[in-house]
């Protein structure tokens, strides 16, 4: 084997850096979707590698459901500050107030409601491109996604009419009002993400490591018990998402494998203290990462339907 050789992580890295620089060069107003989760943590390092010593030439954008893990929010805000980036946060609650979105009767999860909030943010800031951390190995509909994924002026994805993507020549052209979603981690697997986090010594929020937490059993998953409702002047945002009297509640040593918000994230019992422990656990896992995501369990085409409507 020649000494001029990239291993798989170096290959995935150079591919992602190339994609990020194409975004910076081709779009006028790009944004980077940063949630504080493990995939977007990798995106930030890739942005540093693509653009340093210059500033990262785009703001970070995050859409909050209002049900976030507080640890994640703290981490997100701190990282954005450390990198000197502008962080834009838009929330489902604000969208309710503005009438952009409306609560779905009987539905506690606000996962779907992130769609109108994201689309409104894109319109508000005239973003022509949003970089996201989605990976093709996550889910079947995502397996069909392009690096540069075109969205029409309604934010819709049309999987049957995707632009062919050939060599490394990405067609980044959009008309006013249309936009592009770009996924530099398209070819990464869950394992690649953790190996990269290890290699780059990246900090991750502590909820990825085992900790003690009260959880309750629902829909075949252990969901975290939401924080207590303290402000009596407002309705309980977690109403309907609290354990019922006959639900099994237990204190367990657990962690998250993938993060949505507290309503959609199943906790897994685990004793992992280091990144190496997580890598060992992921390689021994017998279910996929998104097997712990309640939002994907709605139907076999749950992700496809949300993506067509403009989801991340």
């Amino acid at each position: 084997m020649s000494s001029y050789h990239l291993d798989h992580l170096q290959y995935l890295e150079t591919e992602a850096i190339h994609v990020m620089r194409e975004v910076a060069a081709e779009f006028e107003r790009p944004a980077l979707l940063f949630s504080g989760g493990k995939d977007s943590i990798c995106l930030l390092r890739l942005a540093e590698k693509a653009f340093r010593p210059s500033d990262i030439p785009m703001p970070f954008l995050n859409v909050e459901t209002g049900h976030e893990f507080p640890e994640l929010i703290e981490f997100r805000d701190r990282r954005a500050k450390e990198l000197g980036a502008k962080l834009i946060v838009r929330t489902v609650d604000e969208a309710f107030a503005k009438g952009i979105a409306h609560p779905t009767p009987g539905q506690v999860s606000r996962n779907q409601l992130q769609i109108p909030v994201l689309l409104a943010a894109i319109e508000e800031f005239q973003f022509d491109c949003a970089i996201g951390g989605a990976r093709r190995d996550e889910e079947k509909a995502r397996a069909k996604e392009r690096f540069f994924s075109f969205r029409d002026s309604f934010g819709q994805w049309d999987p049957k009419n995707q632009r062919p993507e050939i060599w490394n020549l990405y067609n980044a052209r959009v008309n006013p009002g249309e936009n592009m979603r770009v996924f530099p981690l398209s070819n990464w697997t869950e394992m690649d993400v953790w190996e990269y986090i290890k290699k780059e010594k990246l900090e991750v929020p502590n909820i990825y490591f085992s900790h003690e937490r009260e959880c309750y059993r629902k829909g075949g998953q252990w969901l975290p018990v939401p924080p207590p409702h303290t402000d009596a002047t407002k309705p309980d945002p977690y109403a309907g998402a609290r354990p019922k009297a006959n639900d099994t509640v237990k204190k367990m040593v657990c962690r998250v494998r993938t993060i949505a918000d507290m309503i959609s994230t199943g906790m897994i019992e685990s004793k992992t203290e280091t990144i190496d422990d997580i890598i060992a656990e992921v390689s021994a896992a017998r279910v996929t990462e998104r097997g712990t995501r309640a939002d994907d369990k709605a139907s076999e085409a749950a992700m496809e339907d949300r993506k067509k409507a403009g989801y991340f």
Binding site: S2, Y4, H5, L6, D7, H8, Q10, Y11, L12, E13, T14, E15, I17, H18, R21, A24, A25, E48, K49, A50, F51, P53, S54, D55, R136, D137, E139, K140, A141, A143, K144, P159, K160, Q162, R163, P164, E165, I166, W167, N168, L169, N171, R173, V174, N175, S186, N187, T189, M191, E195, I279, S283, A285, R286, V287, T288, G291, E300, A301, E304
Partner: protein
């Protein structure tokens, strides 16, 4: 999935063939038998088996992820799958066989090291077989596997396998290009010769598919010959508070081919100015040398006006520079190619306007002969064209450099990607004046 040892090499391959040749089933089989499937995926498969598979697990449902695909039992778009064995990591592009989706095959195959063309042993070689093999050769994919599938349905007859092999070997010389070609008799549905060697083929002495994928030599697939660096993004921190950054001017990009060393002389094209590489800057520190396909930021000795779309190259084996080209193009849109109409052409890191001045010929996939002056190219046609750009391009022939010899055509207005083009070698190399940089 054992991960005790880190797989060090990444192999990208695509599968193609006609409808119902069993492409998706083959990938499903590779994932299933190499234990790369998770319990919830198997569970989802079993759930959908009742609807589409008549109670039997349908391995194709693993890759056919969209609703319409499951309903119609076809693959609409390129599906990407990932799996690993202790030896290698794999990126699989499952590309559709329907003729109207040939453009997706080009998409899936353009970045592959290896193509698997499936042939239904009962049907033998058909137009799609020739088309896909031709496209693989045209795209410069180094390694080819002909998977003769459904051998169980022809009673594992060696004569049938040999017949198909002979027919393909008959037209392969017309295509040229492949480093190696492997014929494997198999049954993807039953798993024969996919991950495990079949007991039905005592007459076959070659490897099973996975063994071949794990061992085919790919280290020399990259082009280390001549240095090409299309400038992607000009890196100017413009930081007034930090003096060390104030004068920093870097040229960021991904090395398309070759190797660059600190202190090396280079030529900046199209300006034709010779200068020296002062530094190879990366986030992880300066490098003494960098090679393709690494991403890097080059700092040059002289402050030359350079922007995105320019190319930095080594002094040896200079590329061509022209605004009239011959190329082969695969047409990808319902609206046929129109000569005289303006398209955008994206080549390396720049986009220019272009006009197709003539369609010289088109491939007939039944005979693999070219027919002259077809007038136009329709969706899924491949043919030779003459094209003129509004601005000269610095380029190489596709056969010697996949990244500096390729382009896409974009329809103006709709912004659809309508064509994938491969440039013929330059008639002559660019002749820079070679005056050293002087103010």
């Amino acid at each position: 999935m054992p991960h005790t040892q880190h797989p060090i090499e990444l192999l990208r391959f695509n599968t193609c063939g006609s409808v119902d040749d069993g492409k998706s089933t083959l990938i499903g089989r590779l994932l299933y038998d190499s234990k790369s499937l998770m319990e919830d995926q198997v569970e989802a498969l079993e759930k959908s088996a009742d609807i589409t598979g008549g109670g039997q697990i349908n391995l194709a449902n693993l890759t056919d992820g969209l609703r319409a695909e499951r309903e119609q039992g076809i693959t609409i778009d390129v599906a990407y799958r990932y799996f690993a064995t202790p030896k290698r990591k794999f990126i699989v592009a499952d590309t559709p066989g329907h003729v109207q989706y040939t453009r997706n095959m080009v998409t899936g195959a353009s970045s592959a090291n290896l193509s698997i063309v499936l042939v239904d042993a009962r049907q033998g070689v058909i137009e799609q077989t020739r088309r896909h093999t031709y496209i693989a050769a045209l795209l410069g994919i180094p390694h080819l596997v002909i998977a003769v599938n459904k051998m169980d349905l022809v009673d594992w007859k060696v004569e049938r396998f040999q017949e198909i092999r002979d027919e393909i070997e008959d037209f392969l010389p017309k295509l040229g290009g492949f480093h190696d070609v492997k014929f494997i008799p198999m049954s993807a549905l039953n798993g024969d010769n996919v991950v495990d060697t079949s007991k039905h083929t005592p007459w076959y002495e070659g490897p099973c598919l996975l063994h071949h994928l794990e061992n085919v030599h790919i280290a020399s697939d990259w082009n280390f010959g001549t240095f090409r660096f299309p400038v992607q993004w000009v890196n100017r921190p413009n930081n007034p508070t930090d003096h060390s950054l104030h004068d920093f001017r870097g040229l960021s990009g991904q090395i398309a081919s070759g190797i660059v060393r600190k202190g090396q002389q280079v030529v900046v094209l199209p300006a034709g100015i010779k200068t020296t590489v002062k530094d190879i800057w990366t986030y992880d520190g300066s490098l003494a040398e960098a090679f393709c396909p690494q991403s890097a930021t080059l700092c040059l000795e002289h402050d030359i006006d350079i922007s995105r779309g320019d190319m930095i190259v080594g002094l040896e084996n200079l590329p061509g520079r022209a605004s009239d080209f011959s190329a082969r193009v695969c047409w990808m849109n319902q609206r046929p190619l129109q000569t005289g109409k303006k398209y955008f052409l994206k080549h390396t890191t720049q986009t220019v306007q272009a006009v197709v001045t003539a369609v010289e010929n088109k491939i007939n996939f039944d005979t693999l002969e070219t027919m002259d002056a077809p007038g136009t190219l329709a969706m899924n046609d491949i043919g030779g064209i003459k094209i003129r750009t509004a601005k000269p391009l610095v380029f190489d022939g596709y056969q010697s450099n996949r990244l500096t010899g390729s382009f896409i055509l974009i329809e103006q207005g709709t912004n659809l990607t309508v064509g994938a083009g491969m440039l013929a070698p330059p008639l002559e190399a660019v002749k820079p004046e070679y005056s050293d940089f002087a103010i």
